[in-house]
Amino acid sequence: MLKIGQEQLELLERLTNACAVSGDEGAVRKIVLEEVKPHADKVKVDAMGNVLVTCLGDAAKGGGERLKVMVAAHMDEVGFMIISDEKEGLYRFSCVGGLDPRQLVGKSLWVGKKRVPGVIGAKPIHLTKREERKRAVSLDSMRIDVGPENGSKVKVGDMATFSTKFTRLGKSIRAKALDDRFGVATLIELVKHAPKNIDLLAAFTVQEEVGLRGAGVAAYTFDPDLGFALDCTPARDFLPWDDEDENASYNTRLGDGPAIYTADSSTLSNPRLIKYLVSTAEELGIPYQLRQPGGGGTDAGAIHRQRMGIPSVTVSVPARYLHTAALISRVADWEATLALMHEALGRLGAGDEVLGIRD
């Protein structure tokens, strides 16, 4: 089974340290193209900026029967756009993608393609009143501040991200944008070790965080038999504040392995694909967990409704603190995700024996 070693961790480090806010995925696209080109039969960057990679199976050479399997991972991340220049290095900004305003103050940022250092400050506590501290700092009052000397290096329209650098924490990882560089790194590994029983159609998608936009057109182009989305999903497995009640809505738990989606706001996962992933994991002793049905959405939401319908499912690496400056995740969960996906794809039959999807 595929493993996560130093090489894979270094790739994830490069990917998470790169900045790719939705609509501005170039920095990640560049890494993806470098990594996949030597291993692909065909690589195309489409009209939206998706990277579409084809790895043909053995049967393709003789025109034989095989499944065309699309696997998607989104390259973009949530972040900020500079919307107004207030001079002296101060800027108004808007959030791109879903961000909690309570996670923004007191953070450092990389602004623009030159990664100019910036901060989102906060009013000194000394100047606040007790009542004021009971309310969240409003987005309207926040500014991105690159300092009075660097104002000329930033312009309206520039994107910004948190400037968190990838760090190993023992068996865990702390980084920004693990949502969804985990998926991107996993998909790069799958391309490098592409199963020969299928045509692997790898879609490194854009603009997932602003409405699953890239995945829809990628699925149209690929016209696959099956769709998998690789993503990153919250582990909200904390103890309740009083240590007494049960945490009944944890979504997923760190350390329990890849999260196979049942249902989220965007997709009811294909039950046969859920069953197939579960049985593959159980047969091989790969840990897995079923993500609690709930909110959220992944590229599967756009894929499964494309063309005449594409049976789809999502598999995510569980992580804490999605859409904040720093996520924490376990290397073992990533490794099990990669292993499960590689084994599951590698065991797909040519027709309907496994899935009953072609009759």
């Binding site: 101060l90 906060a122 000194p124 506590i125 309310r135 300092g147 924490l169 904390f238 904040t324 924490i328």
Partner: protein
């Protein structure tokens, strides 16, 4: 030769929370060893550096106080694989979620401040800030590993790296008050090659952010004739309107109010004007909120002055200063001291 930016970055990369100043004291010791005649550590941990004057003994003494401690967090308990926390110094809980931190357990453990989801908290408003008691710190360990490596009372420092924002602007945590420590170091370096009649006691004080225990006890022990507290003040910017703040990087402030001896203020002002060091008068109507509040009332009372560096986003991990202001304070301190005559105290009179 002190490299201002390098020393600043080194000092704000070190922990050294109030009561736990060891790591930062070590760095200051190394910086001060070549530029002082004598170094000692007080019973509560403040660092005293002496530069002897040229006057006949017993010489008058000036004490220059910069606090070296920093605000931060402390481990208050365990919550599964996370830590419950409390604060050291004035921390606005609203700047904490998502902050990078280092937990100083049996080893230094990088982590992050976690904001648990509202459904696990006793809150009515899911969008309200999560109070300190409900925030957690996650270092990526399992519950069992965590209990082996972290104990109650271990300190947690901010891990924001220094940010150079052009040549003259620096941001990071603990610039309050490590920026002033650097200003004082520059003054000591300058004074080392110049003649001054007075003894100069440079003091890096402890625990300013909590009890001012350092400033109070060092002043009692050293019995200076006059004292100066060097600290930071509010710089104009988001959250700090003009009437409460001073322009960033465009000059220092001279404190004025009950904490400050008016004749000392007048002398500092005169020298700043003479040297064309840009400054503003900072009204301090009540407590100064600096070590000066302790210096002034030590023993029989000490004529005290307050000098400050304007700083944005005070008590957040992204405090921001102008480096020129650090140098300006260093220069003003040195120039004040070389101009101090042995009989200065006789001229320090109340003009009523």
């Amino acid at each position: 030769m002190i490299k201002t930016l390098e020393l600043l970055k080194e000092l704000i990369s070190a922990p050294g929370l109030s009561g736990f100043e060891g790591p930062v004291s070590q760095i200051i010791t190394e910086a001060w060893e070549p530029i002082t005649d004598e170094l000692q550590t007080s019973r509560v941990g403040s660092l005293h550096g002496l530069q002897r004057g040229t006057g006949a003994e017993p010489r008058p003494k000036i004490l220059l106080a910069t606090h070296m401690d920093a605000i931060g967090l402390m481990v208050a308990g365990y919550a599964g694989d996370c830590l419950r926390i409390t604060s050291i110094g004035g921390v606005d809980h609203r700047v904490l979620p998502g902050q990078l931190v280092t937990v100083h357990g049996r080893e230094a453990l990088p982590g992050v401040v976690a904001q648990p989801p509202a459904n696990l908290l006793p809150v009515e408003d899911a969008k309200a800030p999560v109070i300190l008691n409900h925030l957690l710190v996650d270092v990526g360990l399992t519950a069992e590993e965590l209990r082996q490596k972290v104990r109650l009372g271990d300190v947690i420092s901010f891990a924001q790296e220094p940010l150079e924002m052009g040549k003259n602007i620096l941001a990071g945590h603990s610039l309050d008050n490590r920026a002033s420590v650097v200003a004082l170091s520059l003054a000591l370096e300058d004074l080392q090659t110049r003649s001054h009649a007075w003894d100069v006691w440079a003091v890096a004080t402890v625990q300013e952010e909590e009890t001012m225990a350092g400033a109070k006890t060092s002043t009692f022990g050293l019995r200076p004739d006059i004292a100066v507290a060097i600290d930071v003040t509010f710089a104009e910017g988001p959250g700090a309107p003009k009437h409460q703040a001073f322009p960033l990087g465009k000059g220092i402030t001279l404190g004025w109010g009950s904490t400050v001896h008016p004749a000392l203020y007048a002398k500092f002002k005169e020298i700043a004007q003479e040297l064309e060091i840009p400054f503003a008068m900072e009204p301090l109507p009540g407590r100064s909120g600096t070590d000066a509040d302790a210096l002034q009332v030590s023993a029989m009372g000490v004529p005290t002055m307050v000098l400050s560096i304007p700083l944005r986003y005070m008590h957040t991990p992204v405090e921001m200063i102008g480096i020129k202001d650090v140098k300006r304070i260093g220069r003003l301190l040195a120039e004040f001291i070389v101009r101090l005559p042995l009989d200065f105290m006789e001229t320090l009179v109340w003009e009523d």
